[in-house]
Structure formats: structure tokens, C-alpha cells
């Protein structure tokens, strides 16, 4: 009798041990069928202007939930914008499993969607296969630097632009002789932000020193904080980071030392509004709208597009109350001038980066 009960308890525990972690780790584990099926928006809001997308259908595949802050959420916002601003008919599939990529892509293409967004470089291989079979459908793949040169466009955000804006602001802050950077990992997009930052700082003042510390890809807040403290000890006067989730550690180190921080990718001011001067936003939504606008006009080319400051996809947020108190007036106005010059083509960031000395 006792063994029977024991077996039942073990079976129950085994069940809990397998189910609960799945529910926690995997975004779509609770109802896998529901999340990967195609969700079509029916109640379209009244279109406002420029209805160039009338009669066109756009779909989007997202690797994660539409509720996240930095990556999937903004892209989904962009999809909603092309519905309301350009009158596209839209549909999306969130938290798509790698096993379902091909199936979902094919379903959309067969249902006659004209433009299909695949939000992530991980989709590129599958999109390339499916795109061959549907030559009349257009695909836009995020972070794709190569395409099939027929019906796939790459949709990228300019990491150089992100770095340039933050570098220009940091180098102008009073008493800044050395900028400290906590780099997440040595991968191209993050190295590009770092290069952009060097170019931005050098544009303001070639004398400004820059110190960089690489943490590893799994670095967390505590590790990033140690890296930031090491930078501050070596004389850095202001900090930035590309370490993503580790950023609060860098902010907290800056706060402890009474220094400032300039962020990127999302708004970090909620962590500590007195330390975070501003954050450079990478707006996937604008990239989506730009791509859909080009497509509706019949101007979309099968090339990797770069969306940056000029395209309105990379920008500083509004300065917060505290930031406005500590950033000198002339710095703010010079930043405005720089951004205008970039938009007017007077500053070409790629050239500024190319002119950097070898490190």
C-alpha cells in the first residue's frame, strides 16, 4: 500500500517538474496551438491619411511575444501603424517556433499576403526557401544583410547611428575626458555601436579617450556592475553599455560614483532618472512602416535596407526633467544641430566611422 502511494506521489511530482518549467521558460508553451495559429485583425480602426496600402495585405512573423518591450513589441506596433496609416490589411503570428517557420510562411503566402515581415535573422534561411516558391510575394527579413536579390528585402537598424548619437552627447558633457563602455559581447551589431560611439565622440573632440570592457554574452547585472566599476576606477567620467539586460548594473555603478549614463535600445531612465541622461531608441516600428510604404509605392528593392537617424528609426527620447537640469543648454542645441546635419546629409556617419584610427 505504501509503495503505491509513493509511486503516485513520484508520478505527480514528475508531472509538476516537467510542466511548470516549460510554462515559465517557453513563451508559447501554455497553448502552443493557439499562439502559432494565424491571428487576423478584423476591427480595423478608421484609416487617417495616405491610404496607399489599400487592398494590400501584410503579415508578420515574430519570434517572441508581442508584449515585450525592446524587440517584438515595437515591430508589432509598426504593423498596427501600417494598418491605421497606410490601410494595409494585417495579420500576425507571435512566438513562432523554429519548427513552424516554413508552415506559417507558406500559409501566409498561399492566402495571398503581399508583404510578409519575418522579424529576425533566424527566419532568413526558411524565407529564402519559401520565397523561391512564391515569386509574387515580397518578404522583409529583420537583420538580414544578404538577400536573394529577387523578392527579399533586409530590414536593419543602423547600429553606427545608435553609437554616434550617444558618443556625441557623452563627449559634450562637462568634465568628460574619458568615456567608459561596457560591451555585451564581441558580435557585429555591438561592435558597430561601439565604433559609432567612438566616431561620435571623436566628431565632438578627438582628444576624448574611450575605454572598453567586454563582458561575455551571458553577463548579468552583477557582472556588468563589476566591469563598470573597473572602468570608473580607470578614470572614466561617463558610462554607456550594450549589455542589454546587464544595463541596470552599469547604471547602478554610475549612480554610486555620481557619474552619468547614456543608454540605448530601450528607455533606461526608469532604473534611475538622476543617472540616465537619455537613451537612443532603436525603433523597429518605423522600419516596418518605411518598408511597407516603399512596397506600396512599388519602390521596394531586394536589398538590405539600413534604417537610421535619417529614416527616423534611430533617435533620442525627449530629455527627462532631471537631464534638462544637468545638461548645459549649448550641449542640447548642438545635439539638435548635429541631428539636423545628419538628416540633411552634412554629416555622413559611415564616413566618420571609416575615418577612425585603428584600435
Amino acid at each position: 500500500m505504501k509503495t503505491k502511494i509513493n509511486i503516485t506521489i513520484i508520478a505527480l511530482l514528475a508531472l509538476i517538474l516537467t510542466i511548470v518549467p516549460l510554462a515559465g521558460c517557453n513563451n508559447n508553451a501554455s497553448e502552443p496551438d493557439e499562439t502559432t495559429t494565424v491571428v487576423t485583425e478584423t476591427d480595423a480602426p478608421e484609416p487617417t491619411s495616405d491610404l496607399i496600402g489599400e487592398g494590400l495585405k501584410a503579415a508578420m512573423l515574430l519570434p517572441g511575444p508581442i508584449s515585450d518591450i525592446g524587440y517584438n513589441g515595437p515591430a508589432y506596433e509598426g504593423l498596427l501603424r501600417i494598418e491605421s496609416e497606410l490601410a494595409y490589411e494585417i495579420s500576425y503570428a507571435e512566438s513562432v517556433d523554429p519548427a513552424d517557420y516554413e508552415n506559417v510562411l507558406r500559409t501566409y503566402a498561399q492566402e495571398g499576403y503581399n508583404l510578409i515581415f519575418a522579424h529576425g535573422n533566424q527566419f532568413l534561411e526558411t524565407v529564402t526557401i519559401v520565397a523561391e516558391e512564391f515569386p509574387d510575394t515580397w518578404f522583409a527579413v529583420t537583420s538580414a544583410f544578404t538577400t536573394n536579390e529577387k523578392n527579399i528585402s533586409g530590414m536593419n537598424l543602423s547600429s553606427h547611428d545608435v553609437g554616434f548619437l550617444s558618443g556625441a552627447l557623452m563627449a559634450q558633457m562637462p568634465d568628460v575626458d574619458k568615456i567608459g563602455m561596457v560591451s555585451g559581447a564581441e558580435i557585429p551589431p555591438l561592435v558597430m555601436i561601439y565604433d559609432g560611439l567612438r566616431a561620435g565622440a571623436a566628431y565632438i573632440n578627438p582628444e576624448v579617450e574611450i575605454a572598453n570592457v567586454y563582458t561575455d554574452a551571458r553577463a548579468d547585472m552583477a557582472a556588468c556592475k563589476e566591469a563598470a566599476v573597473a572602468l570608473l576606477d580607470s578614470g572614466s567620467d561617463i558610462l554607456s553599455t550594450t549589455a542589454g539586460t546587464g544595463a541596470p548594473g552599469v547604471i547602478s555603478a554610475a549612480a554610486d560614483a555620481g557619474k552619468y549614463f547614456v543608454g540605448n535600445s530601450s528607455d533606461w531612465s526608469s532604473v534611475d532618472p538622476e543617472t540616465v541622461l537619455n537613451s537612443v531608441i532603436t525603433d523597429w516600428g518605423s522600419a516596418v512602416v518605411n518598408t511597407a510604404t516603399l512596397y506600396a509605392k512599388g519602390e521596394l528593392q531586394p536589398i538590405p535596407y539600413m534604417n537610421g537617424i535619417v529614416e527616423g528609426a534611430v533617435y533620442f527620447l525627449e530629455y527627462g526633467e532631471h537631464a534638462l537640469e544637468v545638461i548645459p543648454e549649448e550641449v542640447l542645441s548642438r545635439m539638435d544641430t548635429i541631428i539636423e546635419d545628419i538628416k540633411a546629409g552634412k554629416i555622413i556617419i559611415a564616413d566618420e566611422v571609416a575615418a577612425l584610427p585603428e584600435e
Binding site: 517538474l17 518549467p21 515559465g24 566591469a227 566599476v229
Partner: protein
Amino acid sequence: MDLVLSFLTSVIRQTVPILYVALGVLVIQTSGILEMASEGKMLLSCFITAIVAFYTGSAWIGLIVGTLATGIIGVIYIWLIQEFHLNQIIVGLSFNTLALGITSLLFRQKYAAVMEMNPILPTFEFRPAGFSIPVYVAFLMVPLLSLFLKRTTPGLKIRSVGENPRAVESIGLSVKRVRYMSGFLGSLLIGIGGAFFVLGVSGIFAENMTSGRGYIAMTAVSFGKFTPIGTLASVVLFGTGDALQYRLQAAGNIIPHQFAQMVPYLMTVIALVVFAKNPNSPSSLGKPYYKSR
């Protein structure tokens, strides 16, 4: 001088949470239970502590509740192993996965949105000579634990259960009871480690924030040959390696950053080569115990 001080501070900040967890693992392993769940327990402690500290506004209440909760979780863990004779490695690993899943799920569903507004948790305000109380206690624990395991009756019981449970049974002591006790005590220490990590070091809760520190603590125990002093030495070694490599990088282009990042691993390899003889692990470590009839 300032730089040396800051370097030491950095080492201490990285060392203390792992030291608590490692000492906890040591107590549990000494009794012959293979403690694979330290990562999960540490994470659960971080989570519970963060929630309690967030809602009460007190670091100390958070620490106490988080620590006690981890102690109870530790007893449940020992219960699974002792009553069902489950494979200790499997239970430990599933425990860690479970902890990661539960904390991530609850945090996303219930707390992430609320805490986003004000993510910095309360911390330990009272800091004589620059460090908060748990830091001093951590280093004090090392000689105390040494004494406890070598000189006191409960300590000796824990050690003998780890070496030869049959012998302990033959003199009329309950092996299970001793292991429950060591599981509870050890998990309390792991709990303090998690609580101090989230309140004293990181200041913010994030999913999977321990990211392997529990495993590092486990390694430190075997590396330190199952003695409190050895454990302290290996934890400090790991911490020094990390602090050193960040400083080498920050100092500029003296050496390529790849070499700087190698430093912690290099130090570990060298130490392993030098000290690897005689693992000195408890004889019955990881072996399931069946009471003789």
C-alpha cells in the same frame, strides 16, 4: 591606494554571495547528500527576498523571510531524496529548472509590471567601515563553520553520516534526522547568499539573475577539498580572477581583451593542476541510503 581598495571591494562584492552558497553546499555535502540544487535554491531565495523586500520596504525582513523559505525548500529537497531514494543528480537538476521556471513565470505574470516603476530594491543601510553586516558575517562564518564541523556534536554527527551512515545507525542515531538538519542549515546559508546577492549586490531582481553562481559555489566546495577554509580560498580565487580581468581591460590596450578575459579560467586551471590531489570528498557522497532492517 584607492585603486587597491576598490579592487578589494570588487573582489569582496563578488565573493560574499557565492561564499554563503558554497558554505551551505559544504554543510549539505558533508552529510553525504549530493547538493546539485544550489543554483535553484539561490534563485528562489533571490526571488522571494526581492518580493518581500519590495512590498515591506525592508531589506532585513526580505533577508529573513527569503532565508527561512529557502531552508524549508531545502528540507523538501532532502525529503525527496531520502524518502524516495531518487537519483540525486536528476532531482537537483530538475529542481534548478523548476526554480528558473517558477520564478520567471511568477515574475512575468505578477510582479514585472509593478516593479518596473521602482525597480531598485531596499538595501542594507547600516555599513560600519564601508560594508554591510552580511559581509562581515560571511567571513566570520568560515572559522565558525570549521569549529562547528570539527568540534561540536551536531557537526560531528553530520560528518560521520557523510562518511559512514551505517556506523551512525549502529549507535542508534537517525541518519535521516541528521541529514534533514544539515539540509535545513545548509539551505539557510544558501538562502542568505541569494538574499544578499539580490539586495546587497545587484539591487534589482531579473529573470535567471544567478546565472550559474550556484554551480560555481558547488565547484568551489570540491575545489576547496570540502573544508570551509579551502572553500573560502577557491571562492576568493574565482572573484579575484573576474575583478582582475575587468581591470586589465579597462586599463586600456595593454594586452588584447581576449587575453584579459582568459585570466579567470587560466587561474582556475593553474590552481587545479597545483591542488588537484586528494579530493577528500565524504565517502558516502551521493549514495542513496537504505535503512537496514
